[in-house]
Symmetry: C2
Subunit: 565 residues, 2 copies
């Protein structure tokens, strides 16, 4: 009998799409699966990135045996730089994933001394009490894997991000044989990708996009600009294949697209027949019907190649010409709808014909739909089930799906980040909650999320601010002249002057009552905030942030400058 | 021969979904079609509403003959309050629309003296050189119409917002007979709804939702909470119908839902069999399987009934109980994705089963898909075509569709707000651009959009601010003590103190060079902004807004208080 329970501790990726990180703990051994980042939404203005909170790991450094990465997307590798600059532990991944990790660590200035181990699917890695075996899965990036983890309590299967694609364009189809081989043995736990649990049926094969791309490119009389995710190598391969078939040449633009295409060519994940890729100077000599431009920008990223084209940015290597066909071969990630929509409209305005997912099958998802999730459940037949990788509604629906496949309700755990699930061979229980907050990156600052800072930012954004300078005569303790008020972002220029003069009167009236000595600066602060706050609220229905600056001044109180009232 | 050209001037709703307004001008006669508002996106923090710019109309007041409203949605009636408080002109609409306009004008404090005329579809209204005839169309609100406008240059058909539904639940199917009667005559111009031009085929009938609702409600063992748009009377009717069939009673919650249901019952647009609607006290005595709650909140509006339930707001009349089924019988309007998603997740977390459009057909759109747009084009056979009501991509795609239906390219005008299109019997041309900006409502302020205010707000939101108070000794012109710096929203509390002390040093070093007299306040401002700006940029990669406050003070420079450095 095993001496310890198996502890399953999600540190990120549950109740959100992003910053995936899962810890498995047995006795004194901890392994970590994935270390991803997340991009913040509009509700966190000024925040650049989010990382999982790794304090659980920092407190148990001596027990950490390694971090295993399922694939090279940023929501699975993007927090490694943060983690490896604070913890020393070996990293295990497939080869393509390792290349992307190395690039990411270098860009973020983490020493290359990190031990990045390459693992071949099928081989085994022993990490303390755990033995890990990777199995190939199909996803929207090469060399993706799921994990078969042998623990003293039984086998844990982690799906990674997966779909089932019998005709993938690059790499291996999802490898059922390793999973099927487990069929005889008891699988203790399945952790499975919930992203597309809302979709019925099967996610279509990547090869379906080929026909659409071929039709669009063969019908286009002008240039074709294809934008997709830089790491979606299979899509890029299809563009190269169609280019060869339709006698077009391909020009690659956008920094990340160039970098990844070059890396994938070197490592053999992408195959470009000689002469199909061309340089900028060659592009200029080609007739339009022989040109394909491959570019970044499918998410409307402000500095991407496509957005520069859409905005007629003179720095862009390619400018839109009426008659161009633009193919957005991607899905819009939730949160990017507005910028993608704006980019699309700008391209139309310039006379391009834009083809996107609503108009033609120019993209297929990288995650499995309900039937695929059911197939995995029925193949693995786990005792316990924990849905991972999804918003709470996805996890909840995936939990229901598992129950519909015969897993008892008590064996399905819809967890949240920070839950500590303990599993024995026969029963499981959430025994604790650990700290699993958010680490935010804001400029060069990396730290815990300060709600006050975010609250202030939102308040400033919605209401603007007023800085009120009150001078108190150092000798007699009375007001020395009129208050000065500077505002930012809360009234339009036309009404500003009049409003500011009235607001000065309000402060004067509140402070100068009887022209007696003013009280303590703290008291003056409060009077200014209260009186002005009420005035703006009643007058313009706004709640600007009011910052009183109280100074004790000599009589030589300077006149306001132009930009102040 | 007509003496003038017909002028078509879109003032809102082209290149955007919202604030629809179209002017038609012939000689000295102007009519306006619709007067809608728009809700701003995240890029306009603090802005409450947007209205079309009506300066074209204000400059030609004496020529205005009336405003004709196609239906009662806010993007078609919401700017009437703004317009009617600045212009005197009669309003023409169907009866249900009139009721909604009256409520809206009252809420916004516009005098009831506005002449709100009710028009019956089929009858004619003469407005100067124009004669207007309304025809019934199906849309997601009762009493929607399109317009047949007789002008000296020929007939103009305005589709309104429409779909083709042969089995509508409330009101009339789209009336082809009036349009077909035009078939013999020449139609000069078709203005047609472009919202769903991206969708192939036909938009399903409203009656399709009935089966889904019936299945969900009959299968639910607990309470069912249905949320939809308050003005989607046909959906509300279906909920009442299913309630009767399944022996449930309906409790209505949410201010706007209550108001509109009550109005629709009074005016006969909604039929509730006796006893089906119940009060809060009756609700409490009913077993769960006999309860339906009808509520607002499908767009995640913070103060709506559903969001209060999702957040366990103690003020909510209804609290979620595990076992509740929540049906979100609506589509998410672009821009609301994040809040709707958060609301859904919160409902799941509380143990509700939530059913939304991705999981079942609980909603159908109110706008026609491509085949319906083609049907209208082929029925009306216009000489000229102007796509309306859509983002630029929708207008562009609708223009292509019209060409594919045989309208010559030169007769299709993809316009933008402010374009002045002149039409004769044989040719048309955009002859000018008029001012068609945006009027924004921010608290009680209504005015033109000041880019500086918005830029400042975004800057503040992303970077926060630093107020730097510099005291200059009134006698010797030198610095009187250390600068004081107050920051808001740009560093987290942990690092703040150290950073502020260093930033004081930076200002001191920049100003106190040689301890000579300081220059003009304007010069001091610049030195402070430059030196601190550089410091924050290099140190924390941030660009806070820096507000220097320069005061000439006596020697009694007060010590900083706690909240300042």
């Amino acid at each position: 009998m095993p001496r310890h329970k198996l502890r399953v501790i999600p540190l990120g990726g549950l109740g959100e799409i992003g910053k995936n990180m899962m810890a498995l703990e047995y006795g004194n051994d901890i392994i970590v699966i994935d270390a991803g980042l997340m991009f913040p939404g509009e509700e966190m203005p000024g925040v650049d990135l989010l990382f999982p909170d790794i304090s659980y790991l920092l407190e148990r450094q001596q027990n950490l045996r390694g971090v295993v990465i399922t694939h090279g997307h940023e929501d699975h590798i993007g927090a490694l730089s943060y983690m490896l600059s604070r913890l020393t532990l070996p990293v295990y991944s497939t080869r393509f994933t390792r290349e992307l990790i190395a690039v990411d660590l270098k860009q973020r200035g983490v020493k290359a001394s990190a031990r990045l181990n390459v693992v071949t699917p099928g081989s085994k890695v022993a990490l303390g009490s755990f033995t890990i075996e990777m199995f190939s899965v199909c996803h929207s990036i090469p060399d993706s894997v799921g994990l078969i983890i042998h623990t003293p309590q039984g086998v844990v299967v982690h799906s990674g991000d997966f779909k089932i694609d019998y005709t993938p364009v690059v790499g291996e189809p999802t490898n059922f044989s390793q999973l099927a081989a487990l069929g005889g043995r008891d699988v203790l736990l399945l952790l499975s990708d919930s992203t597309y649990v809302e979709l019925d049926g099967y996610t279509p094969s990547e090869s379906l996009v080929r026909d659409t791309l071929d039709r669009i490119i063969s019908e286009a009389t002008g240039r074709v600009i294809v934008t997709t995710f830089a790491s979606l190598i299979s899509r890029i391969q299809q563009v190269l294949d169609v280019a060869v078939r339709r006698d077009r040449r391909v020009f690659v633009t956008g920094r990340s697209m160039k970098e990844i295409v070059s890396m994938a060519l070197k490592t053999g994940y992408l195959a470009a027949p000689a002469g199909v890729l061309c340089r900028l100077d060659e592009l200029r000599d080609l007739p339009h019907h022989r040109v394909i431009v491959l570019s970044t920008g499918s998410q409307g990223e402000p500095t991407s190649a496509l957005v520069r084209m859409a905005n007629r940015d003179p720095r862009s290597q390619v400018q839109i010409i009426p008659g161009d066909t633009v193919v957005i071969s991607a899905t819009t990630i939730p949160g990017n709808e507005a910028v993608v929509s704006k980019t699309t409209d700008s391209l139309f305005r310039q006379g391009a014909r834009v083809i996107y997912d609503k108009l033609a099958q120019v993209h297929v998802h990288g995650h499995g739909s309900r039937e695929e999730l059911k197939l995995l459940l029925s193949l693995v037949k786990p005792k316990f089930f924990v849905p991972i990788h999804g918003e709470y509604r996805h996890l909840s629906l995936h939990g229901d799906l598992a129950q519909s496949m015969g897993i008892p309700k008590d064996n399905v755990f819809v967890l949240e980040n920070g839950d500590v699930l303990e599993l024995g061979r026969d029963s499981g229980k959430v025994v604790a909650r650990t700290h699993a907050g958010v680490i935010y990156v804001d400029g060069l600052t990396t730290g815990t999320l300060d709600d006050v800072v975010l609250r202030d930012r939102k308040l400033l954004a919605r209401n603007g601010l007023a800085v009120v300078t009150i001078a108190i005569d150092a000798e007699n303790g009375k007001l020395a002249g009129r208050p000065r008020i500077i505002t930012l972002g809360f009234v339009d220029a036309g009404e500003e002057q009049r409003l500011l003069e009235k607001s000065q009167d309000v402060v004067l009236a509140a402070l100068d009552h009887g022209r007696r000595r003013l009280g303590e600066p703290g008291f003056v602060d409060t009077v200014v905030k209260d009186s002005l706050g009420r005035f703006f609220r009643e007058r313009i229905h706004r709640h600007p942030v009011i910052i009183p600056v109280v100074v004790e001044a000599g009589r030589a109180w300077r006149k306001p400058t132009r930009q102040e009232a």
